[in-house]
C-alpha cells in the first residue's frame, strides 16, 4: 500500500471532522493495520484508495504503481483533480480550482445531543428518545430521562393514544412538525413511542419501535404479557423485568440510535464472508452430524446457527420450507453478543427465548456455546468476541441431545479445519473493491435479505470517538436511504437512482491571513442510493467528490463485484434437512 502524508491542515468549521481523523504518520497508511487487525485483502485489490488523499503540489504526487484500472478515465480524471488540487491553499493562487478529495468525512448534520449524558438533562435536549409504557400509562422504559421527567410525559402519551382509540376508533400513527417526529405504536397492552429530530421517516421509527417491542416479547412472550395485564390492567411491568432486560433495551436503543447498525433500517442481516466451498463444507458437516444423531428424535432440532461476531450469520441448519424472520435473528444476535459473551470455553447455555415473528406466544430453547478456539488463527478476533453455535429446539428438555449434537459438530468442524476458516474469515474492506472515491457503502441483496458493509477503517482507539464516527456514518445512510423511500416506507419507484450532495455554501467576505495560508477542507459530501428489484446500494463518497459520473461508475463496480462474489458474501439456502 502506498503511504501518503497528511499534507493539509484540516481546519474545517466542523470540529467532528478533526476528532475522527486518524492519527496518520508518515509511517502509517490510512488504510494500514488498525487495532491490531492485519490487513489482508481477500480479493484482488485493484486500487489503493489512499492515493486519493489530498496533496499539495509541492509534494510529488503518489501515483499508483500497480493494479491500475487503465480504462477508467473518470478515475484518472479524478486522480488528476485530487492530487493536484490546491484550492485556496496559498495566498493569491486562485488559479487552482480543483476540488480536494479527502479521506475524511465531515459531518453535515444538525444535532443537539447534550455533551454529557447526565441524568438531569432536560428531555428536550435529546434529539432522539424511546418510550415504552403500559396501556394503563405506567412507564416501562425510556431511553433518556429520569423517572420524574418521563412519568408525566408517558401519561400524556398514553392519554393521546387512548383518546384516538376511543373517539376516532383509529390509532394515532405520528405527529410531525418539520423534521421532528413523534411516532406511536400500539401493541396493547404495551404502548411505544419514539421521538426523533433527525429527519427519520415515520416508517423507520415505527420499525424501530417494533424492534423494541419484539425484544420485550422475546423476553416475556405475548402470552405471558397478556396474562399479566388481563389479571390487572395497571400491572407494573418494571417489577417483573430484570436488570438485564433494561440493559438489553439500552443496548438495542444505543445500537439503533448511535451505532452503525443498519439491520433495522434495511430489514436485513449481515452475513460472514466465507469461501463458497468452506461454507458448503460447514453445511455438510452440520447435516451429517444431524443425520448421525440417531438418538435425536425427529423435530427436536428446529434450527442450527453458527454466528460470527458483529452479528454476522455464518451458516444455518434449517428444516425444508422454514426460515427464521430477520427480526428474530437480529434479536438473537443482539442477545448473544451483548449478553452471553461472558461464557467460558466449557460453559454452555440453555436459554428460553421467544421468537416473536416465529411464534409470539411461546418460547423456543436455545443451546448456546462458543466455538472452540482455532488452532491456526489467532485466538481472538473482534475485541475478544468469538463465534457461537446456537441450536434451537422447541422442547424444553432437549438440552442433552443438543449438547451431544453440538459436541459432535465441533469435533467434525475441527477435524476438517473448518473452525479455522470461520476464525480467519475477514470482513470486507473498502479497499477490496475497485471503487474509487467511495468512502463507505452498504449493499443489500433483496433475494437474500442480507447486506454487506465494509469494516470501518477510521475508527480510532478511543471508544467515544469511534462511536461518534459510527453515528455520523449511520446518519448519512439514514438520509441517503430516506431519499429513495417515502414516509410510509414504500419506494418512490421500482428502481431509483439518487445522488445526494451536501456542500458548504461559499464563504462571503475576505479571508483572513490564516484562512488563506492554511488550507480549509471544504465540505463537499456526496452519497448515492440505488434501488432496484434485485439490490439496494447506498454509498458515501470521500469529501470533495463531486463527479457524479465517476461515482456512478464506482457504484456499478461495487454492484458488479458483489454479484461476482455473491456466493462468498451471502448465505443462500443453508443446510436444509
Amino acid at each position: 500500500m502506498n503511504t501518503v502524508d497528511e499534507q493539509y491542515l484540516d481546519d474545517s468549521p466542523c470540529t467532528d471532522s478533526n476528532r475522527f481523523r486518524p492519527a496518520v504518520s508518515s509511517k502509517t497508511s490510512s488504510f494500514g493495520p488498525l487495532n491490531g487487525v492485519i490487513s489482508e485483502p481477500t480479493t484482488s485489490i485493484t486500487l489503493d484508495q489512499s492515493t486519493f488523499q489530498a496533496s499539495v503540489p509541492s509534494t510529488p504526487p503518489v501515483v499508483p504503481q500497480e493494479n491500475q484500472d487503465t480504462d477508467d478515465e473518470a478515475l484518472l480524471e479524478s486522480l488528476s483533480q485530487s492530487l493536484y488540487s490546491n484550492d485556496h491553499s496559498i495566498l493569491g493562487s486562485s488559479n487552482w480550482n480543483h476540488p480536494i478529495v479527502s479521506m475524511d468525512v465531515p459531518t453535515v448534520f444538525a444535532g443537539r445531543n447534550p455533551v454529557s449524558s447526565a441524568e438531569n438533562q432536560e428531555i428536550s435536549s435529546w434529539d432522539k428518545n424511546f418510550f415504552i409504557l403500559t396501556s394503563a400509562g405506567k412507564p416501562i422504559y425510556a431511553m433518556h430521562g429520569s423517572d420524574g421527567q418521563v412519568t408525566s410525559l408517558m401519561g400524556i402519551i398514553n392519554t393521546v393514544m387512548s383518546y384516538f382509540q376511543l373517539h376516532n376508533s383509529s390509532d394515532i400513527r405520528t405527529i410531525s412538525c418539520g423534521k421532528a417526529k413523534l411516532a406511536f405504536l400500539d401493541r396493547s397492552p404495551i404502548f411505544l413511542a419514539a421521538y426523533s429530530d433527525r429527519g427519520e421517516t415515520s416508517n423507520e421509527l415505527i420499525n424501530q419501535l417494533d424492534f423494541l417491542h419484539s425484544y420485550l416479547l422475546s423476553s416475556l412472550s405475548q402470552r405471558q404479557l397478556t396474562r399479566f395485564f388481563s389479571r390487572r390492567e395497571n400491572f407494573d411491568l418494571r417489577n417483573f423485568l430484570e436488570a438485564t432486560d433494561f440493559e438489553n433495551l439500552d443496548e438495542i436503543c444505543s445500537l439503533i440510535c448511535e451505532r452503525l447498525y443498519p439491520d433495522v433500517l434495511l430489514g436485513a442481516l449481515q452475513c460472514l464472508s466465507l469461501k463458497k466451498t468452506h461454507r458448503a463444507q460447514i453445511h455438510e458437516a452440520m447435516l451429517q452430524c444431524l443425520l448421525k444423531e440417531s438418538d435425536l428424535p425427529r423435530g427436536t432440532l428446529l434450527y442450527g446457527l453458527i454466528v460470527a461476531p458483529d452479528n454476522k450469520l455464518c451458516s444455518v441448519l434449517r428444516p425444508r420450507g422454514h426460515t427464521l424472520h430477520t427480526t428474530d435473528l437480529n434479536l438473537l444476535f443482539c442477545l448473544i453478543f451483548h449478553h452471553f459473551q461472558n461464557l467460558q470455553d466449557q460453559q454452555e447455555m440453555w436459554v428460553p427465548i421467544c421468537f416473536p415473528k416465529f411464534n409470539s406466544s411461546g418460547f423456543l430453547y436455545c443451546y448456546i456455546k462458543l466455538l472452540p478456539n482455532s488452532t491456526k488463527a489467532g485466538p481472538e478476533t473482534n475485541s475478544g468476541k468469538r463465534p457461537v453455535l446456537v441450536l434451537i429446539s422447541a422442547q424444553k428438555d432437549a438440552f442433552f441431545s443438543l449438547k451431544t449434537l453440538g459436541g459432535n459438530l465441533f469435533k467434525h468442524l475441527q477435524a476438517n479445519s473448518l473452525i479455522d476458516h470461520i476464525y480467519r474469515a475477514k470482513g470486507i474492506k473498502i479497499s477490496d473493491i475497485p471503487a474509487p472515491l467511495v468512502h463507505h457503502f452498504i449493499y443489500k441483496s433483496k433475494k437474500h435479505v442480507q447486506y454487506i458493509i465494509p469494516e470501518l477503517q477510521f475508527v480510532t482507539q478511543a471508544e467515544d470517538e469511534s462511536q461518534e464516527y459510527e453515528k455520523k456514518i449511520i446518519t448519512y445512510y439514514q438520509l441517503i436511504h430516506n431519499s429513495v423511500f417515502r414516509d410510509n416506507g414504500s419506494a418512490h419507484s421500482k428502481s431509483t437512482l439518487n445522488f445526494v450532495q451536501w456542500e458548504a455554501a461559499e464563504a462571503v467576505g475576505e479571508r483572513s491571513f490564516e484562512q488563506a495560508v492554511f488550507q480549509r477542507e471544504k465540505i463537499c459530501m456526496m452519497g448515492l442510493a440505488w434501488t432496484t428489484p434485485k439490490f439496494e446500494l447506498y454509498l458515501i463518497c470521500n469529501n470533495g467528490t463531486n463527479d457524479k459520473n465517476a461515482v456512478l461508475k464506482s457504484a456499478k463496480k461495487i454492484i458488479k463485484w458483489c454479484a461476482r462474489h455473491e456466493q462468498r458474501l451471502f448465505l443462500s439456502d443453508g443446510a436444509v434437512f
Binding site: G111, I172, S176, G178, K179, T496, F499, W502
Partner: protein, 634 residues
C-alpha cells in the same frame, strides 16, 4: 373528505366553567351531530398534542403540526401566538379523490388565514369574540366548503401551493426594444400628478385560463410559467403575497374571475342532502353513468336531482342578487352571476376567444345599485405603527391580464367616471404593449415557432418569497370528470334552461347588453358584455409567437398530477433532511419511469428541475456532470 375545521383560542377560558369560550368556530362537514363536549374534547386533545410535542424541543419552533391517524389526518396551525386553526381530513381510500398530499392542505390552512386577515385584519384585533366567530363563519366556512366540493382547488395550485408564504410570479420575457409597458404604467399612472401617492401600486397578473382542455392538445395554451404576478411597482405595500394568493385561490376555485367572484358573492351551493342520499348520488354520477342498466333507479334519482338543481340555483341566484340590487329576473344578471366553468369547444366559441376583450371587474363604474363590494374592494393591513389601515382595490382585465389598482381609501377621484375611463384607457394602452412585447417577438417570428423547453422547474426563494414555476397545473380536472361535480351540472343546466347553447355568439352580443357592469374574465360569458364596457380592443392576438411551453405541456393531466405528487414527496423528504445550517443539499433522482428530478435546497432557496430521462438520454450521457442542467436556473 373534510371532516371538520375548528378555530379556538385557549386563552379565552379562565376556568373550567369557561372552557367553551375558547371555541371560536367548529364546523363539521359531516352530517353527524356533535355535542359541545365532544367539540371541546377534540380541541383539548389538539392542545394536548401541541404541548406534548413542544416539550421535546425540536418541535416547538414551527407553528404547524400534522397528526397522522390511520384513517385521517389532523392539521394544526398556530397563529398570532394563541389562536389554533385545525382541519381534519379523512384519508380513507376512495374518500380522497384525487389523493392530495397533506402538505397542500396545510398550505390551504395558511391561505385561509391569510385571506381572512386580508379582509378583516388579525384575529387578535377583535375584542368581541362573537364578532370574530361571525366573521369566521362567513369567511372560513365557505373557504373550506369550496374545497370540500371542489378538491381541484388544491390540485390547481399544484406544486406552487407548497409554500403558503410565497407568491407565484409570472416569468414572461418582454422584448426590450421600444418603450416598455411598465414605463407606460409608471409614467402615465403612478407618477401622474393626479395619482401620485394616492395610487399606491398597480399589480399586474397574467392569469391565462387553463380550462380549455382542447386548447392544450391543439397547442394553443400558454405555459404555466406565464401564470401569476407579472409586476408590481411599489415596495411600500406589504400585502402583495396575501393579495396574490387570494386572487389565485379565487381563480383556482372558480376557474375564471368575475365581478361576482371578486366581490365575494359567488358561492358554490352544496347539493341538497339528507333526502335519501341525493348528494351522494350526484357525487358519484360519473360512476353511475357508466354503471350497468341495473342501476337505472339510481341514475333516475341523479337525473332528477340534476334537473332540479339548475332551477333552484338559478332562482336562488336571482333572488339573492335581486334582493341586494332591487333588480330581479334579469336573464343577463343570472348569466353573469354564475361563472362559466364548462367550455364546449364549438367553433364559434373558438373564434370568440381569439378576440381581444377587456373591461372592469370591480370598479365604481359598476351600477350604483350593486353592493359596494362590486364597486370597490376593501382590504386591510397592519401598518408599521401597528394600526390597521385599509386600501381600496379596483380590478380591470385585459384578455388574460388582471390589473389591480391599489389606492388609498381617501382617494376620491376613483368615484369620477371620467377619471376611471381615462385610467382604463391608459391601462389598455400599456397592456397592449404588454402583449406585443411578451408574445410577439420579432426575433422569434424570424426563427419560427419557439421550441418547448426540455425541462420544467419550480423555485422558491425564502428571502423574496417568490415562487417561479413552469410545471403545468392541473386545471382540467372537471373536464376529465365530466358530470361528477354537482356544481358543474348546475351551470350546464342554467345554460340549457335559457337555451343559450343553441344561439350563436353574434346573437348573444346583441341580445344581452348588460347595463350593470358585471363581467367575467376569460370567458365567452363575459365576452357578451364587452360592448357594455365599451372597451373592446380591435387588435386580435390569434397566434402567439411565444407560448412559454415545456415538455410537460403535452402530458395528460392525471400523469401530471402524479408527477406533482411525486415531486412533493421528494420536496418533503429534502425539507425534513437533517442538514446543518449553511450547507447546500442537492438531490438528483432518476426513477424507472424516466423522471429525472434535481432538487437543491439551501438556507435561501429551494429549486426543482424536472426532465425526462428517455427524451434526453444522449444529452445526459454526453454530460460530464448530470447536475449541470441545474445551472439553467442561474
Amino acid at each position: 373528505m373534510l371532516q371538520y375545521v375548528t378555530v379556538f383560542d385557549p386563552s379565552q377560558s379562565d376556568g373550567e366553567d369557561e372552557v367553551h369560550k375558547q371555541l371560536l368556530l367548529y364546523h363539521s362537514f359531516e352530517d353527524l351531530e356533535i355535542t359541545l363536549n365532544e367539540k371541546l374534547g377534540r380541541i383539548g386533545m389538539i392542545q394536548g398534542i401541541w404541548s406534548l410535542t413542544d416539550s421535546f424541543g425540536g418541535m416547538g419552533e414551527r407553528q404547524e403540526k400534522v397528526v397522522e391517524l390511520h384513517k385521517e389526518v389532523i392539521l394544526i396551525i398556530k397563529v398570532e401566538c394563541r389562536f389554533f386553526i385545525s382541519l381534519c381530513v379523512s384519508t380513507e381510500e376512495g374518500r380522497m379523490s384525487p389523493a392530495i398530499p397533506h402538505e397542500l392542505y396545510v398550505s390551504q390552512l395558511w391561505y385561509c388565514y391569510q385571506i381572512f386577515v386580508l379582509h378583516y385584519g388579525p384575529f387578535s384585533r377583535f375584542e368581541d369574540m362573537g364578532e370574530l366567530t361571525d366573521l369566521l363563519n362567513e369567511q372560513i366556512v365557505p373557504f373550506w366548503h369550496h374545497i370540500q366540493l371542489k378538491p381541484e382547488t388544491i390540485v390547481r395550485r399544484g406544486i406552487a401551493g407548497l409554500w403558503p408564504d410565497g407568491c407565484k410570479v409570472s416569468q414572461l420575457e418582454f422584448d426590450s426594444s421600444g418603450e416598455s409597458w411598465e414605463s407606460l404604467i409608471n409614467q402615465n399612472i403612478l407618477l401622474a400628478p393626479e395619482n401620485y401617492m394616492a395610487v399606491k401600486d398597480v399589480l399586474v397578473y397574467h392569469l391565462p385560463s387553463y380550462n380549455d382542455q382542447n386548447a392544450q392538445f391543439a397547442g394553443r395554451r400558454l405555459g404555466y410559467k406565464t401564470y401569476g404576478l407579472v409586476r408590481h411597482f411599489s415596495d411600500d405595500i406589504s400585502i402583495v403575497t396575501q393579495l396574490s394568493n387570494w386572487i389565485y385561490h379565487l381563480h383556482a376555485v372558480h376557474g375564471d374571475l368575475s365581478s361576482h367572484v371578486l366581490a365575494g358573492n359567488a358561492h358554490y351551493e352544496e347539493a341538497p342532502s339528507g333526502s335519501d342520499g341525493v348528494e351522494n348520488a350526484a357525487d358519484n354520477s360519473t360512476e353511475l353513468s357508466s354503471a350497468a342498466p341495473s342501476n337505472l333507479q339510481a341514475q333516475g334519482r341523479a337525473l332528477l336531482h340534476n334537473l332540479m338543481l339548475p332551477l333552484s340555483f338559478a332562482y336562488d341566484a336571482v333572488h339573492e342578487v335581486g334582493s341586494t340590487t332591487g333588480i330581479s329576473k334579469s336573464m343577463s344578471l343570472i348569466m353573469d352571476y354564475v361563472p362559466r366553468w364548462d367550455h364546449n369547444a364549438s367553433r364559434e366559441r373558438e373564434n370568440d376567444r381569439q378576440r381581444s376583450r377587456c373591461g372592469y371587474l370591480i370598479s365604481p363604474l359598476c351600477s350604483g345599485m350593486l353592493p359596494m363590494s362590486y364597486r370597490v374592494k376593501k382590504v386591510v393591513y397592519e401598518s408599521s405603527d401597528g394600526h390597521l389601515r385599509s386600501f381600496n382595490l379596483l380590478f380591470w382585465f385585459y384578455d388574460d391580464v388582471l390589473v389591480v389598482t391599489v389606492c388609498e381609501p381617501e382617494f376620491a377621484k376613483i368615484w369620477d367616471s371620467q377619471y376611471l375611463e381615462d385610467l382604463s384607457y391608459k391601462f389598455r394602452e400599456s397592456i397592449t404593449r404588454f402583449y406585443e412585447t411578451a408574445f410577439q417577438h420579432a426575433e422569434s417570428k424570424a426563427k419560427g415557432p419557439s421550441k418547448r423547453e426540455s425541462f420544467a422547474y419550480t423555485t422558491y426563494s425564502k428571502i423574496t418569497k417568490e415562487i417561479k414555476c413552469s410545471v403545468p397545473a392541473w386545471f382540467d380536472s372537471k373536464s376529465d370528470n365530466r358530470g361528477s361535480n354537482p356544481m358543474k351540472l348546475v351551470v350546464d343546466g342554467v345554460d340549457h334552461l335559457f337555451g343559450l347553447n343553441s344561439q350563436d355568439a353574434s346573437e348573444l352580443q346583441d341580445a344581452n347588453r348588460n347595463p350593470w357592469g358585471l363581467d367575467i374574465m376569460g370567458s365567452l360569458l363575459g365576452f357578451r358584455n364587452d360592448k357594455t364596457n365599451q372597451n373592446v380592443a380591435e387588435e386580435q392576438y390569434p397566434h402567439f409567437d411565444r407560448r412559454y411551453e415545456n415538455f410537460l405541456d403535452g402530458m395528460t393531466q392525471e400523469k401530471l398530477w402524479g408527477l406533482q405528487v411525486q415531486t412533493i414527496q421528494f420536496l418533503t423528504s429534502i425539507k425534513n433532511s437533517n442538514r446543518a445550517c449553511g450547507l447546500v443539499e442537492e438531490r438528483l433522482s432518476k426513477l424507472n419511469n424516466g423522471l429525472l428530478c434535481y432538487i437543491k435546497q439551501d438556507d435561501e432557496s429551494v429549486s426543482v428541475v424536472i426532465r425526462n430521462w428517455f427524451e434526453h438520454r444522449e444529452d445526459f450521457e454526453s454530460h460530464k456532470r448530470l447536475s449541470d442542467f441545474g445551472k439553467v436556473l442561474g
